[in-house]
């Protein structure tokens, strides 16, 4: 276990290094990007530009600039945004994290429950008309883009039907911290949760159905029936349990990516100021410090999710555990 953690930590450091260097190089090698001009404004005099370059260290060689930026992210934590002057990006990301985590956790619970429901139902109803119907439904869910789905949800719940009893409980767009008002936190997140989870529920449901049908033909499932177990127990303890191995590894990766910022479309559509939203703004403003910090944050979560997947995988499948 200890060697596993050490190996993983070294791996994380390596990944962070490579990714930050890449982002850094891409930023400075992109034609037409001049951070000093972005900070100073369009029509600034050369004197002001030179002053700003000196102030932000932009006149130093690139490796030195890189090292300084890393120091400001990891050690002094006082990296300042280029576009929102005076804003420190590390605390800004820390402040945005709870919103993203709230959104992704809730959606994950929803999509896992829905996917297991869809997958198991479709596998059990195989041969009836309900199986293809469920699969078409799942395919529609997978195909609906989240920004479109979110806009439609907003049109319905904030516009047309907001006045009726159906959706009058939906608060205006935005995020309320859990610590501030738990009920409002929940009410505000219900529609974003559903929107974000639908595509994943469809995808996971289809994957699970395929795995279940494959596992149902395994010899050990036949053995389980021959032992005289109930159908329910064979399904839960044998078929489903073994099918969850693929499901779990898929889940870990998607969950990590979403926490890392992939939920940005949902966050933007619903005005949730999470990490994805922050990244989105940083990209539109070409704000290197914020981009860099969110990339580091994202890479960290993806590596962490991978490590957790490996542990869960070993727990689910004893064959891959080290002896």
């Amino acid at each position: 276990m200890l060697t596993f953690i050490i190996r993983r930590s070294l791996w994380t450091v390596l990944v962070l290094f490579v990714i930050t260097v890449l982002v850094f190089i891409i930023f400075f090698k992109t034609p037409g990007v001049d951070p000093a001009r972005a900070i100073a404004g369009r029509n600034s005099s050369p004197a002001i530009l030179a002053e700003i370059r000196a102030q932000f260290g932009l006149n130093k060689p690139l490796p030195v600039q890189y090292a300084l930026m890393m120091k400001k992210i990891f050690i002094s934590r006082d990296l300042v945004s280029y576009s929102n002057q005076g804003v420190r990006v590390v605390p800004e990301i820390a402040a945005a994290t709870p919103a993203t985590l709230s959104l992704v956790f809730g959606a994950a619970v929803l999509w896992v429950v829905m996917a297991i429901g869809i997958g198991v139902a479709a596998a059990l109803l195989r041969g009836t008309i309900l199986d293809p119907l469920l699969m078409i439904l799942a395919l529609i869910g997978v195909s609906a883009p989240v920004f479109w789905l979110g806009q439609v949800a907003n049109m319905i719940t904030q516009g047309g039907l907001h006045g009726t009893f159906l959706f009058s409980w939906v608060p205006p767009l935005g995020y309320t911290p859990l610590t501030q008002d738990p009920l409002l936190w929940f009410r505000g997140l219900v529609i974003p949760w559903i929107t974000l989870s639908i595509a994943y529920a469809g995808l996971y449901g289809r994957v699970l159905r395929a795995n279940l049908i494959e596992t149902q033909n395994e010899d050990f499932v036949r053995t389980a029936h021959a032992k005289g177990l109930t159908d329910g127990r064979v399904l839960r303890r044998h078929t489903l349990r073994t099918s969850m191995i693929t499901f779990a590894s898929l889940f870990g990766l998607d969950f990590g990516a979403l926490v890392a910022g992939s939920a940005l479309l949902t966050e933007v559509v619903f005005g949730i100021h999470g990490v994805g939203y922050l990244t989105y703004q940083a990209f539109t403003n070409l704000d290197l410090p914020t981009i860099m910090a969110t990339v580091v944050y994202g890479a960290f979560f993806i590596v962490l999710a991978n490590a957790i997947v490996d542990i869960v995988y070993a727990w689910l499948d004893p064959r891959i555990r080290p002896e």
Binding site: D219, F220, T223, H225, K227, L316, P318
Partner: protein, 342 residues
């Protein structure tokens, strides 16, 4: 002999496929008494496995159709509800399968899997079931059972896994143990160990055994009676002695003739049955073995019924006169085969 424990009457199993109806089992009847061992012999696709799977109602293919009766202690298993059949599985009739590498669930400890079966049928605590699992592993010859009970299937060899399967099968003291090619996937040295184990358990507990195999050598040692299957039908059925010494069906002669013998001069070539089994989609109207039979004559265009032609309950489905058969047979098979077995 008392009333049979298991009686299969005119069992027919067919599968609807895109190419037509496959008659996998076409009118099979046999019976099994308390403590008796029945060997069912035949090549791949002859319907042996489908027959016993149907007895256990383990075929869930929606395209399968079943006819006939399977009487276990007088109850017709084919008409029982799911819950009723579930109670019989494991306690009344237990089964072990061909491939021990895939027949155990890879994600659970073997002791857990044995205990699961015990707890499915008896009201016992987890600890008690676990302790029983250790005793059972010891009984099937697993060394250090108290440690191995917590191992996963992948930590066992093929032979050891088959022992675990056997331990699981006998955990609820079944009346009947069905062994579907239990040694086919194993090394030859391990095969003998597993067969001896089945023999020992049968003798110790008085369990009736249905042993399915394509290897006459396997049943030579173990079976009281032998049924030979070909193309979904039983073509010969009789006592072990009868089938080995006085085989009536040319297909049985072929099977007996194709056994390699180590105690005789090496033949230039091991004899084989010419041709291939017929497609189960289009069985010939007459004798299914007719096209491969070297003794075919006019009458063979009619399907030969399974009748007792030589007496003593020895059934066969061949139109040849017993006298004729005796003459031909002497040149084809090795009647000494059974001697060492006894």
């Amino acid at each position: 002999m008392t009333e049979p424990l298991l009686e299969v009457r005119d069992l027919k199993v067919s599968f609807r496929t895109e190419d037509g109806l496959v008659r996998a089992v076409d009118g099979v009847s046999f019976s099994l008494s308390q403590g008796e061992t029945l060997g069912i012999v035949g090549e791949s696709g002859s319907g042996k496995s489908v027959t016993v799977m149907s007895v256990m109602r383990l075929i869930s293919d929606p395209n399968a159709r079943f006819e006939g009766e399977v009487l276990y202690k007088g109850r017709d298993l084919m008409t029982l509800s799911k819950d009723q059949i579930r109670e019989i599985r494991g306690t009344g009739i237990a089964m072990i399968f061909q491939d021990p590498m895939t027949s155990l669930n890879p994600v659970y400890r073997v002791g857990w899997q044995i205990a699961e079966q015990i707890r499915a049928h008896e009201q016992v605590s987890k600890q008690a079931a676990h302790a029983r699992a250790i005793e059972l592993l010891a009984a099937v010859g697993i060394p250090r059972p108290a440690e191995r009970v917590d191992s996963y299937p992948h930590q066992f060899s093929g032979g050891m896994r088959q022992r675990v399967m056997i331990a699981m099968a006998v955990s609820c003291n079944p009346d009947i143990l069905i062994a579907d090619e239990p040694t086919t996937a194993l090394d030859v040295t391990i095969q003998a160990q597993i067969l001896n184990l089945i023999k020992k358990l049968r003798n110790d507990f008085g369990t009736a055994v249905v042993l399915i195999t394509h290897d006459m050598g396997v049943v030579a040692d173990l079976a009281d009676r032998i049924a030979v299957m070909y193309a979904g039908r039983i073509v010969e059925q009789g006592s072990r002695r009868g089938v080995f010494y006085d085989a009536q069906h040319p297909y049985t002669w072929g099977l007996l003739g194709s056994i390699a013998r180590l105690d005789r001069p090496k033949p230039r070539r091991l004899s084989a049955i010419p041709g291939m089994p017929p497609s189960l989609l289009r069985l010939p109207p007459g004798c299914a073995f007719g096209d491969r039979c070297t003794h075919r004559f006019d009458l063979c265009d009619e399907r030969p019924p399974l009748l007792d032609r030589v007496g003593g309950g020895h059934l066969d489905a061949c139109h040849l006169e017993p006298k004729q058969k005796k003459e031909v047979r002497e040149t084809t098979i090795h009647p000494e085969l059974i001697e060492e077995a006894e």
